[in-house]
Subunit: 380 residues, 5 copies
Amino acid sequence: MTDMNLSTANFTVPREEEEEDLFDYFYDKPGSIPGTLNIEENASPSKIVLIDYNESQVIRIPNLTPEACAPYLDTESVSWVDVQGLGSEEILRRLGGVFKLHPLVLEDVVNVPQRPKVEDYEDQLVVICQMVMPKETGEGFYIEQVSFVLGQYYLLTVQEEPLRDCFSPVRDRIRSGKGNIRKSNADYLAYTLLDAIIDGFFPVLEEYGERIEDLEDEVIANPTPQTLEKIYQVKRELLALRRCIWPQRNAINSLIRGDSDLISSEVQVYLRDCYDHTVQVMDIVETYRELASGLMDVYLSSVSNKMNEIMKVLTVISTIFIPLTFVAGVYGMNFEYMPELTWKWGYFATWGVMIAIALGLSAFFWRRGWFKNLSTIQQK
Amino acid sequence: MTDMNLSTANFTVPREEEEEDLFDYFYDKPGSIPGTLNIEENASPSKIVLIDYNESQVIRIPNLTPEACAPYLDTESVSWVDVQGLGSEEILRRLGGVFKLHPLVLEDVVNVPQRPKVEDYEDQLVVICQMVMPKETGEGFYIEQVSFVLGQYYLLTVQEEPLRDCFSPVRDRIRSGKGNIRKSNADYLAYTLLDAIIDGFFPVLEEYGERIEDLEDEVIANPTPQTLEKIYQVKRELLALRRCIWPQRNAINSLIRGDSDLISSEVQVYLRDCYDHTVQVMDIVETYRELASGLMDVYLSSVSNKMNEIMKVLTVISTIFIPLTFVAGVYGMNFEYMPELTWKWGYFATWGVMIAIALGLSAFFWRRGWFKNLSTIQQK
Amino acid sequence: MTDMNLSTANFTVPREEEEEDLFDYFYDKPGSIPGTLNIEENASPSKIVLIDYNESQVIRIPNLTPEACAPYLDTESVSWVDVQGLGSEEILRRLGGVFKLHPLVLEDVVNVPQRPKVEDYEDQLVVICQMVMPKETGEGFYIEQVSFVLGQYYLLTVQEEPLRDCFSPVRDRIRSGKGNIRKSNADYLAYTLLDAIIDGFFPVLEEYGERIEDLEDEVIANPTPQTLEKIYQVKRELLALRRCIWPQRNAINSLIRGDSDLISSEVQVYLRDCYDHTVQVMDIVETYRELASGLMDVYLSSVSNKMNEIMKVLTVISTIFIPLTFVAGVYGMNFEYMPELTWKWGYFATWGVMIAIALGLSAFFWRRGWFKNLSTIQQK
Amino acid sequence: MTDMNLSTANFTVPREEEEEDLFDYFYDKPGSIPGTLNIEENASPSKIVLIDYNESQVIRIPNLTPEACAPYLDTESVSWVDVQGLGSEEILRRLGGVFKLHPLVLEDVVNVPQRPKVEDYEDQLVVICQMVMPKETGEGFYIEQVSFVLGQYYLLTVQEEPLRDCFSPVRDRIRSGKGNIRKSNADYLAYTLLDAIIDGFFPVLEEYGERIEDLEDEVIANPTPQTLEKIYQVKRELLALRRCIWPQRNAINSLIRGDSDLISSEVQVYLRDCYDHTVQVMDIVETYRELASGLMDVYLSSVSNKMNEIMKVLTVISTIFIPLTFVAGVYGMNFEYMPELTWKWGYFATWGVMIAIALGLSAFFWRRGWFKNLSTIQQK
Amino acid sequence: MTDMNLSTANFTVPREEEEEDLFDYFYDKPGSIPGTLNIEENASPSKIVLIDYNESQVIRIPNLTPEACAPYLDTESVSWVDVQGLGSEEILRRLGGVFKLHPLVLEDVVNVPQRPKVEDYEDQLVVICQMVMPKETGEGFYIEQVSFVLGQYYLLTVQEEPLRDCFSPVRDRIRSGKGNIRKSNADYLAYTLLDAIIDGFFPVLEEYGERIEDLEDEVIANPTPQTLEKIYQVKRELLALRRCIWPQRNAINSLIRGDSDLISSEVQVYLRDCYDHTVQVMDIVETYRELASGLMDVYLSSVSNKMNEIMKVLTVISTIFIPLTFVAGVYGMNFEYMPELTWKWGYFATWGVMIAIALGLSAFFWRRGWFKNLSTIQQK
């Protein structure tokens, strides 16, 4: 009996929490100095992991100081410096020094979330990306920024959280030497990680495909206020996904079209494949958004249909009984001279008249088909 | 009486099944190695059919190993290698070896469905297409991927299913030597197959044209919840068709604009014709989508109209009888001193008053035209 | 009383017939040989009319064989070969031979309707157009394909029907020698005919302007289900017009931009004028479509307004009489001890109470303005 | 009581008249000779006014023959030939001869209204414009075509009506010598007039801003069918404004981008300013159109809200009195053995029960807040 | 009870006031001389503040005449001339003389608001911007024009109001020498101020994010007419924000793409960052607009849902009691011969029948779930 109250309650709390995730954006305090780093209070402390590999060997150092990375950067082996957590301003600044990052780049990397983009500095290529991961609860997703700084022999990646990423299969491939990764340069590593990020959108999208399917059944068979809520929720989250993927497409496209020396022509072929996947993600997001919008229209029509059925019940009952009650009222009058009252069969004749009226009206409604769907006005 | 229940049941089951077909998309497990082949469990085993022809003769070998194709590929006669079924990873890999396919091409060919596209490799042109075929039941359609790899003297085509395709007329033309096909090169064969795929959209579209026409009649004359369901269904399937044909247009356009040596200028003239057909398909799909969207608006208005009619019935009946019942109630009061009750013609006078009221109100409604459409509130 | 039934009947039959006309499109049987001609059963037999003219003289030969045209084609006088009717395959094929048409061109000319387009062959310019003509009944229009093949000294036009076209004023001008037409070349003749086709859209559009105006009045004053039907009908037919004119614009534009030697720079100035008219047609079609869409919204709101009025009638009547009936009911009770019943003025006092209640409630509704629009709930 | 009837009447008549103005367009009779002049019956007779000026002197000749203009055209002083009224075919043709106008230009100038455009002839620049002027009644606006033919030393302008234009301030400036106009060439004069035309849109737009503001208040506080009418009207007229200003923007843009020698680089700076104003007009028109569309949605929701309130009144009254009437009915039954009837306090106990029911139900509705807005269901 | 009245009142007054701010635009009186300055009556008197600085020192002169600025302009130190208030025509004209402003530039600077734009004069770069600031009341925002004239060693800024701006942090940074500002040229100062303006949009946007979140809860749980009002208000103000930011994006883009010598390549890198922020603002505005539009649909559906619930209450009550009242009416009839009336248990049997009917109907509705949500029809 109170399920709606409950559901409204359930609805409000998680949504507000998600809100922070889905439509978040970073902005400088107006007038602040360019290059200011904004460290959030609850940010995880920064941890640096180095993986240095070439075809013959792999070194993994789980916890370095920024300065300790420096010697690896200029050797010909590929050095992947992965920074996890944005909580330690000092470490991040020292990192900026070691990698000679432009102050604006460091700002974009640390002050998350930024819009995905590619920037081409002389001997560095900076890529800002958004990664999505399904929530553990099975509904909704996290959005997290990953920044890439690609040099000739190194790749610096910066993530918001230490544990949540979709790069473990790549780490496994480096360790085991499967595929081409160990034989390739840092640009191939960057492609592999980008590809993992884009492929990470698909499991999230799959969930929305299923939710839309469920809603399609629900919206026609049994539209409730909760259905409306769910449709709106789906539209809202798809809008958030769309906001993530559109600039990513532009970014990857400008990687392919760009003429940076840091990306070999061989890796560009792979990036084109990655671009195709991005377009496919966009395609699916737009398709789902159209389906969800269509559902909203169907919902409104369904609710109107339901009201029609309710009105029919009321109309049938009222229309049949109101004339009968009138007849009964007539013979309840107290006039001294009412001939029918003294007739022997008057009472039974009146019953006859009333039954005839009732049957006649019922037949009228029956022929118009108003009884057809009465049995289906049902709500689980 | 239970037809809605039935229809809802009918609705749910086939739709979910279709869902798989219409909005399906392939995606790599995030982080998987580029070039991984994904063999579905229920995929048909791969079968290779070779047709090798020139102007004077035709050879057809129904079941080859990949390696057995090799000698035909470099001879000047046109070799059409048609692979049907994607179930045998080993055969597909060996095929990739024989045709020297780039690992990403093999992946796109096998991991279906991909987005339609054209890719230009040095001495090969790769075209990914979606083919649609009407279902045997007469409602809805299958979508199936066909991939083309065009070399100078050969054409490799890869299909998902061994039996379902629209290429039989082409095979007949090769066998019988009708038209130019036996006198032409592999690029003309590729055009002929592409053209057959595009022309295959038309019979499917024709069905939607008819369904929309039926819905146009239904939506105004007699809108039911099932009508809503059908409109949504049509919109949904047209969206799926649109998703197929848009990238196909881009692909064919890039074939025409491309400057690959593999396509002769003569065949480009034919491809332009094929492009025109593709544009026409898109045109029809968009037109139908607009019509279907318009139907949704009409539906909502029709339902509101129907509610108006129901309300009119209720209002007419209530408004006429409620005052009458009141009059009867008045003379049912038990006051000791009610002069009218003792009048001789009181009872009949009361009837007169009541009839006058009923006639007056009926005339009021009649002049406002409320009885006009009452006879049409009907539902088959 | 049965006008809706009638109108629905009227509606269904002509619309289905129109359907064929408005959204028709030609498609090859999938897999058929390029160049196949598709002769419809009910097509008119083909008739060839030749008009050959220069500044000094005009020859008109009403019924030729294709071969009889040949000698006129290469003389410097302008030869207009007008083929009316697409029913005779053999004549059309022979014509293709005489004019050396590419098989795809002959196909486009015969297999109607095609999408409007311009194709540039070496010494021929092919233009496919759609011509619209208002129906004799005054509502709706026919769409008919006209194909132009322009050579240096000749113009071949192919029409679907022998009688229906908008070229008679042009024929008159050739005969009478008015304007520049007799002094100009074949390209000017082609322009003149194209211009006549484009100008033929305007009378059709004018009809829609009037229908929309009528609907604007109807939709607010008195929305009925028929109004809805008419709005939908107008939207539908405007969509068909739009489908005709858009590709025509592209075609004429490519004529202007093209660098075919067959179009002199002088005629290009005239074509630019023709292009301006095409843009104006599109402009009007889009404007009308927006107006029609707006009308749909207004319709829905108007229906809701009407329901409000109906509900007000019901509410006013019910709310006034239900309490009165209750009062009467109270004094109809049979309790042995009901002091009011024995009062002398009890009956009249009760009447007083009831009148007071009725007046009070009426005043309540009056002040809220509910009686204001009651007199306008009217339906012609 | 009859205000709606009145307002519908008021509505229909002026709108139809406006219709002619707002969505009018000229078209040739299909097949007519290019260059045909179409003189409307009620067109004002043509009058030619010449203003010839240089820095030192101004000559104004109020009524000339076309031929009398000829000597002024080639002198270095700027000659503004202003033709007012399109009623005299012969004068217009002679004018065409004096100015050596291309027949198509003369056609565009005379057969109004045409789409705004710029055409570049060898030594003439032709600009077709639409000028809007607020109606004297304060609601709505006129649209009138102004054509410019700019030569090196002269400017020919052609207007539809002799009195209605927005050029008087320019004439004053020429007479008084204020600003740069007397020191500048004919191109500056053309700019000044164009600028006056564009600036003339703003007062018209301002009126719509106010009407939208009024509607915003009306639509939420008290939506009536007249509100709907007004919203539709505003949308319709904004659509007409949009149709005027869009091609004007393109025209002015092509003036700036064009490389005609007739426009000096100095005047191009001024034209850029004029272009900015045009963009601003478009911007405001689009903003107003979006606001008006939003209002339509709000209207529909408001009407539904109002229906909710009406339904609440009905439901509250019915739900309270129906059970009471039932109780009264029970004790109106005539059974011989009904113990309650003989109880001494039966009658009063029944009253008690009825009051308790009424209070209970009222409390139910009160707590649900249904009485909250009852006092606001009000209509002025 | 009167809260709606109150809220409508609250609504009207501030909105009209805002109207002036949000959708205001300046336009010349049609036909006025280019370069006319339009001084508003209530404009603040103009005050000139000079800040002249280089790396070693800062001079600030709070109140200068225009001519007193002249000596500072050509020295190598950066001179920021900040004009606050547009009320003094004479001062502004003298300023135009000192800075050698083109008359059209002076016009754009003074006649506010103009559309944001960039204009490149030989040795000056003119940028027109709109700045937004949250209102002190916490709801809504002000829009104010800021114009920049950038020379080699100076920057002239002109603002509408002396106190309201977002430049104080920049002034502090100049005074304190933090960041690069004291070491950089006038172009860096211009960037810093532009960046402060763009960053000023974010706090305003944040407020709308919160309002939309609140509305999302309100619209499903408890939609009232005030909710509708608020949604419309949000849509309206977002439209105003959009109108501000779109042309700003174009302006900043043309600054980056432009090849003015006044902007060093180093500052262009910073401007690109500023451009990214502008794109992000647009992105958020569009996202919020889509959410608000979605809310409108949800609102309409929610209102319909609510009506369904109201109708259910009415239908349940009516449908249960109308038959009971009929039964009571039957035994209130006064026929002489009605056998049931004399039965001993007749009265009690009738009660039994009535209770059975009531329970039966209640069970019917219960099983259909109509009682489910009754307890939630609640309005705070």
